[in-house]
């Protein structure tokens, strides 16, 4: 039995311990790979800022390479905040404008709507990050959190692609908590989360649910194993609960890298689960 007013406490983290565990994760992954550091796309948002801050503490800021990857319609505050974070952490950073590459493609696909354009931008950034990682001898640091992974709120093979992700088991509220603990710039913590793929976009309006509610409902459904009617019985809006369940089901495909048709008795990842470590 868990009451609604107990959920917040269950989602509270021992922040110094979380920091110790996640920095050890980053160090271990980089050491095991034999590479020198990580690259991270800095959007000026809280997720990429937190990932960069953890990496800077894990490896030293000089081994964390930030990339500001704006499109010509990106909000100027995004670049300003990304720069503020990089300077706050003392890490090397560089801006690469993705407009020429994205525009070159859409000159041939002029009927594309905002969804396709947004996805293309996310994947353009991904190819740049992996190329820079190759150039610098680094791994690509992922920045997707647990809430957006469960809700499928990402571009597959775009912003959800990475070599290691320290944030993937943290709900959005825990991201905020850890960011405050690490002392990230206040404007980064307080601004409304946005993918910034088109002007005025915010996560919460697009998802149709605020993060605080989404975290609670996801926790009750997935961590506690409650049924939908048991969640609504605790005072959560039924339409919101149904919306969250629908999103989770619709986008499950984004969480699996490859769907392989099994023919033999030794299909990769099905019959043959070989650990990557």
């Amino acid at each position: 039995m868990i009451r609604r007013d107990q959920v917040k406490a269950r989602l509270t983290l021992n922040a110094p311990l979380a920091e110790a565990v996640l920095t050890s994760f980053i160090r271990d992954a980089v050491d095991t790979s034999g590479l020198k550091g990580v690259v991270v796309g800095l959007s000026g948002g809280i997720d990429s800022s937190l990932a960069a801050a953890l990496a800077a503490r894990a490896l030293g800021p000089e081994r964390v390479h930030g990339f500001l990857l704006p499109y010509r319609t990106s909000a100027p505050e995004s670049e300003r905040d990304a720069r503020a974070v990089a300077e706050h952490l003392g890490m090397p950073h560089r801006k690469i404008d993705i407009s020429p590459m994205v525009d070159a493609y859409f000159a041939m696909e002029s009927d594309a709507g905002p969804d396709r354009r947004g996805n293309k931008m996310a994947r353009e950034r991904m190819t740049i990050l992996f190329d820079q990682a190759k150039k610098l001898g680094a791994l690509v640091l992922g920045t997707s959190n647990k809430t957006e992974i469960l809700l499928g709120y990402s571009t597959i093979f775009g912003d959800n692609a990475s070599s290691l992700n320290p944030l993937g088991d943290l709900y959005k509220g825990q991201i905020w908590q850890l960011s405050r603990h690490l002392g990230l710039p206040v404007q980064v913590i307080e601004k409304a989360p946005s993918a910034d793929l088109w002007p005025g976009q915010t996560d919460e309006s697009e998802l149709g649910v605020d993060y605080e509610t989404a975290d609670d409902v996801l926790y009750l459904l997935f961590d506690m194993g409650l049924r939908p009617e048991e969640v609504t019985a605790r005072g959560y809006d039924e339409r919101i609960v149904q919306r969250i369940i629908a999103l989770e089901q619709q986008f499950r495909f984004k969480r699996r890298l490859m769907l392989i048709a099994r023919l033999s008795g030794s299909a990769v990842n099905l019959d043959q689960e070989i650990p990557r470590d």
Binding site: L17, A20, V21, S24, P275
Partner: protein
Amino acid sequence: MLASPRTRQTPRTSSQIMPETPPTLLTIGLAQIDCRLGDVEHNAERHLEWIEKARAAGVDLLVFPELSLTGYRLLHLTPRVAMPANSPILRRLAEAARPMRVVLGFVEEGERGVLHNSVVLLSDGAPSYIHRKLYLPTYGIFQEERFFGAGRRLELADLPWGKMGVLICEDLWHPELARRLAVAGTRLIVVPSASPGRIGAGVLPESHESWETLTRSTALLDTCWVAYCGRVGWEEGSFYPGGSHVIRPGGELVERAPLLEEHLLVAEIDLRDSDRLRWRLPLLDDERFDIQGPTQGPTEGPAR
């Protein structure tokens, strides 16, 4: 003055009055190490390093974590790292450890092509005792029954200081095993483990809070020493928190290794402390085996 008859005899040493008892004081070492998944050669080299470290620290009995020679989350790599108990690698480690006793974890190639999650005791230059994990967790993140066969025997190991029981990780979550070991005469239970960590709001990882609840309860209820050796490091995105520790008979924490880093925890333990507690708290002596009632598992539903 009447001389008592005794004064005319040669004074007797205590060993003549009391039967000779073996020394009960030993120095235990818990090697809280990281392991490289699937790389037996590398891990064996590291065991040799830690054996030397422990020797320098005066350790008599050195305990490594579960599957210390192979890493834990092997999945389909399991058969590739399996070896019989008399394999050259184990003999080499046993030889190097002399005169120290070493407890380590490995994938054992058993009879009939069955692989076991086993712990071996190396003494006097040879493997002298094997414990095959009895409870193989296959739920949540765990998949052990897919790759291992469960052990079928619970036995005590002989040490110069007395009997020792070994329970591997999940085995401790089934408290009748520790009870049986204690009733059969052990005053020390060692628990090699590879238990993935979880954290919450608490000072210690939530997973570790459970472990200390278990080890302390065992030391209290079974009135024996409990030495828990956990590992550190990462496998497939899952971390092992460490926090190896020694619990005195009665449940008091003697010492805990730090979290998240390799560490050799050294503690002096006197197995007599277990007897001393048992004189005051005779739980084992009071244990009854004649109580009738449900003992054969579920009384309803299909037999498993």
